[in-house]
Structures are given as structure tokens and as C-alpha cells.
Symmetry: C2
Subunit: 249 residues, 2 copies
Amino acid sequence: LSDWNSAVAPLIMKLERVFALSADERQAILSLPARMTDIKADQDIVRLGDRPSRSCFILDGMACTYKISGEGKRQIVNFHIPGDVPDLQSIYLGVLDVSIGTITPCRVGFVPHEAMRELCAKYSRIAGALWRETLIDAAIFREWITNVGQRPAPSRIAHLMCEFVARFRVVGLADGNTIQFPITQSEIGDATGLSNVHVNRSIQALRKQGLISLQDSTLMVLDWERLCEFADFDPIYLHLRDETLAVAG
Amino acid sequence: LSDWNSAVAPLIMKLERVFALSADERQAILSLPARMTDIKADQDIVRLGDRPSRSCFILDGMACTYKISGEGKRQIVNFHIPGDVPDLQSIYLGVLDVSIGTITPCRVGFVPHEAMRELCAKYSRIAGALWRETLIDAAIFREWITNVGQRPAPSRIAHLMCEFVARFRVVGLADGNTIQFPITQSEIGDATGLSNVHVNRSIQALRKQGLISLQDSTLMVLDWERLCEFADFDPIYLHLRDETLAVAG
DNA sequence: CGTATAATTGACGACGGTCAAGCAAGGTGG
DNA sequence: CCACCTTGCTTGACCGTCGTCAATTATACG
């Protein structure tokens, strides 16, 4: 349990985008009764139809929320990085309408809904901040609808990459314009509504234009300005407050 | 102001899906200081980048939330019917990342954020219920990503129609399997990521298969079972509680 | 009546999917 | 240490869904 303190650092960093936590508030988060677990890659954490009694915190690794269509195709609707609470909504919506699974091996923390509700009741500013996080998720979903619905394949993928870099910066996991990007091309396809073959060709186009380099799960943005332009990326929907986070570091 | 009482009936109906409102709670909603306005068709109510100081209630008519892509294409990410509060999220997110505009002439009510916050602070069950509404919106966004990303054109459109019927039932505006459907084919295209030409041909396919009839802004579902099957529609994401609402009436 | 909006139809082309094969890299076991 | 297998990336050929362009036909409205 000792490493819970360091493990929730990204979450605290994210919440403090809005306001500085008081010592009490910070302590309340650090004192949450978390049961930590390591989960292998490509495993479901929770499934469609579940009625979870606890929330799941991503402490390390990468996960995703997805749906399976009637024809058996997977649509990824969100990726999760350390600091995210992917099923926060399950506190208020009984049944899960999606599944959440790991992409890489993950360290996750489970916190009973009961403890979450008490935390929210006692610290209304934290309640508001968590509330706000789910609204930002919703804003991301809206942007993804636009991404899948309106943009050509290479821009779709570029947009996804821009979002990743911006979100990694918020939790302090970006190294300048370089991030860990352990997403396979098939998974990119599932997130953008494209086939893996077409994803491959589109990524090559991005490389040829000198916008990115991507190898060994490392994504380097070579020209942030041009990539944003190409991707039609405007970070307003991430509600970062500190707009400098969205700019080249 | 006298007709505010009847105008919020759909909203109250929606909130009472979760629990019966007490007399106090109901009165608090009826006593909200609403400024009512009539807005013509195809007008923006609020715009991308705005920092509204009040929330907007749809009392009559139909509206939509949309984004404009860099190439000037419109993506509709949600439709709004009476009882909806399309920009509820603006209470907690300062800047609007979308625009909201009318489809038909609308009667809307504006309630200051201040009054909303007081309502939420005083009646925590109402706060939870409104909170929950935004989570359902997010669930709808997730389903739309899947719709646009994975389903063929005719199914996409059929899915949109299924959702409309289910949502109309919740607020008591469906007449059996028949609803008002004042959405142009271009607007259906903007919501599904399709061209108006292809929407037209897909709708004709739905008609030819005896699934729907659509004329004079009236949509009649001729075979609910088969339409759901064809659309890959599972109402779980609408979180209706009373599942019978999603079934043929 | 003239005009604007919406629905419809046809012809043509492109973006992206499917199928299939080849290649590279990492892990496992004999 | 190398054969083997799995997973992921890459490439080519072909095809279909869907977009674009353009013209025609309602329908409503001033």
C-alpha cells in the first residue's frame, strides 16, 4: 500500500489543473482504501453488463474502453493512461454499457464506490473535480465522433496522436514531444474506424511528410505545428485550463 | 411564466425515471427563475468558445449539438428534444467546445448557472439526477462513435431512428411506434457521417424492406423487432431503468 | 407565380476494405 | 543455440461502399 502514494500522483496532477488541493483534500485521496492489482495485457478489467461496486484507477500502463458491434467488430471509444478513472460513471449508472480492457500490462487500483461517495460527500471540491473529469471524457467522445465521422484516414490518426501527446503532458508523462505509444496499428484502426491495412498506409504517409516518427512504441512528433494543422486538432475540447500544455514543450 | 410549469413536464418525467421527486423537489424545479424565449429554426443558441452564464432547457422543438471540422463539414453529435438541457456541462466546464443550434423553431428556457448551483446544493438528489443525465449523454456519445465507426450506412440511419423512438418514449412524446421526425436528410447525414445522397438511398432501402415509413416529418416504425436487429440497436446505453420503454408500445 | 428548400435519380470516381502473401522481431522449448 | 511459433508490420491486387457532381422533381412560402 505504500506505493499508492506515488501511484496516484498523475491523478492528483490532473485534478490540480483546476485548483490546488488543500492538505486535507490531498490526504483524503491518499487515504482511499485502494486494493492494487497487476493485470496482464489484453485482459478485460470490467465488462459490458457488469454492475461494479468499485471504481478502477489506472496507475500504470495503458487501457481502453470499447464496444463490440453486432458484426463482431471492436470500436475503441477512449484510451486510458495513468491518472484516469475509466469507469467513474459507474458510481451513478448502475450497468456498464461498455467493456474496459488493458492494452499493456497495467497496475490498477480498485476503490469501493462507497468510499468514493464518502469522499465526494465530505469534500465537495473533489466531487466537483471528479464530476468535471467525466464531463471532459464526454467532450473527448464528442471530438471522436467528429474524428471518425468527418476526417480522412491520415488526419484521423494524426488527431489521435495529437490528443495522446496533449493528455500525456497533463499527467507529466511526455518527454517534450515524445511519448510512449504502445498501441498496435490494429488498435489504432479500432479507435478510428479503419482497417489495419489502411492504418499502416496512412501512418507511412505521416512519416513521409516528416510529421512523426514512430518505432518501438515510441512516438515522436517532429513538427507539432504542422501535425496539428494536418490533424485539424484544436485542444479546446480537452479543457486544459493551462493552454500552454497543449503546445510544444 | 405560467406555462413554465407545463413546459418542464418532460424534464420532470425524465428525472423521475430514477426516483419519484418529493413535493419539495418538484416545487424547487418549478420555481426556477427561467427566462423563456422562442427561437426560429436553424439558429444558434450558443456557440463554440462561448462562456455561458446560464443553462438552456429545451421546452419545445428540436435542437442539436454540432461541431464544424477544419474543412467546414458539420458533425452533429447529439439531438435534443423537449426535456433536455443541452449545455448542462457548461456549469462545470467554462468554455463551450461545441455549438448548439435549433433544427425546428424552439421554445427554450434559460436558467442562470447560479440558480442551478443553488438547486444542486440544496437538493442533492436533484444534483445526482442531473449529474446522471450528463453521464447518459456521454453513453450516447460512445454509442455514436460506434455507430459512425463500425456500421454500414443503412444500419447507421436505422440506429439513429431507434434511438429517437426510445428517447421520445421516455418523455412521453411517442405515439406507439410513431414520432415526429423533423430532421432533413442532410442533417441525418451530418449526424451519421454520410452524404445526403447516400442517406437518401439508404432510407429508400429501409422503406423497401418494410422497416419504416417516413413522410411529412413523421416517422413510423413498421417492424420494431426487425429494425432493432437491422440497426444493431441495444438500448442498454440509454440507461432507461424501465426497460419496457425501449420496447414496442 | 417565382424562389428557396428538400427529396430524388443517374453517372462516375475515389477512398478505404478485403484477401493474401511476405517479412521482421521476440519468446519458448528442445 | 537454433528451430519454431506467435504477433505485428508491410506490400500488392482487386473490389465495393460511399462521395461528388449535376440535373430533375416536388413542396412550401412570400
